[in-house]
């Protein structure tokens, strides 16, 4: 697998948010303003890079049976570190992200990449994959936040936009607007992205627990081959 392909797939072809449909909770919750979205994207990217590197380095050490708990502990460690850094150097961001910062632990993107990529590939590839995925996640958050903030609040990064400021669509910054914009963006990706709209339903390939979930709602089991092409 070459490096560029590995890096670029996270941004469009396998965009974790818009194509793999992972990490929906933080996407919906933190995309009310551009600053929040970028902060969340950066925090998650840092955790993702660290966890992917360490999990990939330890992939031969961690026993297969207890791998998920091991990953969770590793990820939780990195999240705590990031949480403390944000608290110390960007207290305003810590305030506005609130509960969603510690909840990076249960962000499916991070566990999903560990399970789908890092435990099968070497350290360098995993790091590249993590950077690509992190940028893809941040980009998707940025797109959503731009739509929601400019039209919902009439501002961009806190700067007022003349005409939109007087014609706010307040609902976009509230919860229903989040679901709505997210739905539109995915529909847009389905329509215009070159890949086939593979996602007929909720993203099971990416979910680390797809196997047990498969008993309930998903028809197909995890397709490792499809993910790892």
């Amino acid at each position: 697998m070459n490096v560029v392909k590995n890096f670029a797939k996270g941004i469009i072809k396998e965009n974790p948010v818009l194509v793999l449909i992972l990490g929906t909770c933080p996407t919906l919750a933190t995309s009310t303003s551009v600053i929040n979205a970028l902060g969340m994207g950066a925090a998650a990217t840092v955790v993702l890079i660290c966890s992917n590197i360490v999990i990939s380095a330890l992939r031969k050490v961690i026993p297969d049976k207890v791998r998920i708990p091991c990953y969770i502990v590793l990820i939780a460690g990195f999240v705590t570190a990031v949480q403390m850094l944000v608290k110390a150097f960007a207290p305003a961001l810590d305030q506005s992200l609130g509960i969603y910062l510690p909840l990076i632990v249960v962000n499916c993107i991070i566990l999903g990449r560990a399970e789908m990529f890092a435990n099968k590939n070497n350290v360098f590839d995993s790091a590249i994959d993590a950077i690509g995925m992190g940028i893809g996640f941040t980009l998707a958050l940025f797109m959503m936040a731009t739509i929601r903030e400019t039209f919902g609040n009439g501002t961009f990064c806190g700067m007022e936009i003349p005409v939109l400021k007087d014609n706010k669509v307040m609902i976009l910054t509230m919860a229903p607007g989040g679901f709505f914009v997210f739905g539109l963006l995915i529909a847009f990706m389905n329509k215009f992205a070159k890949h086939k709209p593979a996602k007929k339903d909720f993203g099971c390939e990416g979910c680390p627990q797809a196997e047990s979930c498969g008993k309930i709602s998903c028809d197909e089991k995890v397709k490792e081959a499809a993910v790892n092409d």
């Binding site: 449909i21 929906t24 909770c25 933080p26 919906l28 919750a29 708990p69 969770i72 502990v73 939780a76 460690g77 999240v79 705590t80 949480q83 403390m84 609130g98 509960i99 510690p102 909840l103 632990v105 249960v106 962000n107 499916c108 566990l111 609902i171 509230m174 919860a175 229903p176 607007g177 989040g178 679901f179 709505f180 997210f182 739905g183 539109l184 995915i186 529909a187 847009f188 389905n190 329509k191 709209p197 996602k199 007929k200 339903d201 909720f202 099971c204 979910c207 680390p208 627990q209 047990s212 979930c213 008993k215 309930i216 709602s217 998903c218």
Partner: protein, 196 residues
Amino acid sequence: MIKLIIILLSAVFINNYVLSRFLGICPFLGVSKKLDSATGMSLAVIFVMLIATAVTWPIQMYLLNPNGLGYLQTIVFILVIAALVQLVEIVLKRYVPSLHKSLGVYLPLITTNCAVLGVTILNIDEGYTFVEAMVNSLGSGLGFFLAMVMFSGVRSTIEGSDIPKSFQGLPITLIAASITSLSFLGFGGVIENLFA
């Protein structure tokens, strides 16, 4: 007492975990296709939320805080929840097989459910007492249940309708969720004034 009722009602309606706080979206979108699986999943969530709060609240207050280890919250909570879910599954399997049969498949899914971790952390952040924390967990669980059951009804209506191609599957589900969440906006401000 009134404070407890306010906490309960606002957790169910105003700060609904799924529809206004965006926690637990994964099961909300993934398991809400059929009414019986939606019910099973949400009952399991209520159950785990209550047990998790009952265990994590004392740990934070009597173990972590007095020893200055508050920053270990995230690691400790996720570990406790993961271990707890396993334990509950084993206990149920051994002693209450009928309950295990109906909730068993959903339990492993809950370990990495952000709603459960979210409720335990929020209980600490909000400075609730033990009783208030338990009530808040119950309310959050009930809110999750309500959203799941309502939404599974909405989804069964979508199944049969004619939808533009690019909207099929997830996009239309999200837009339906948006409308469902719109209905919850109406509760804002009601509960605080109910007892005023």
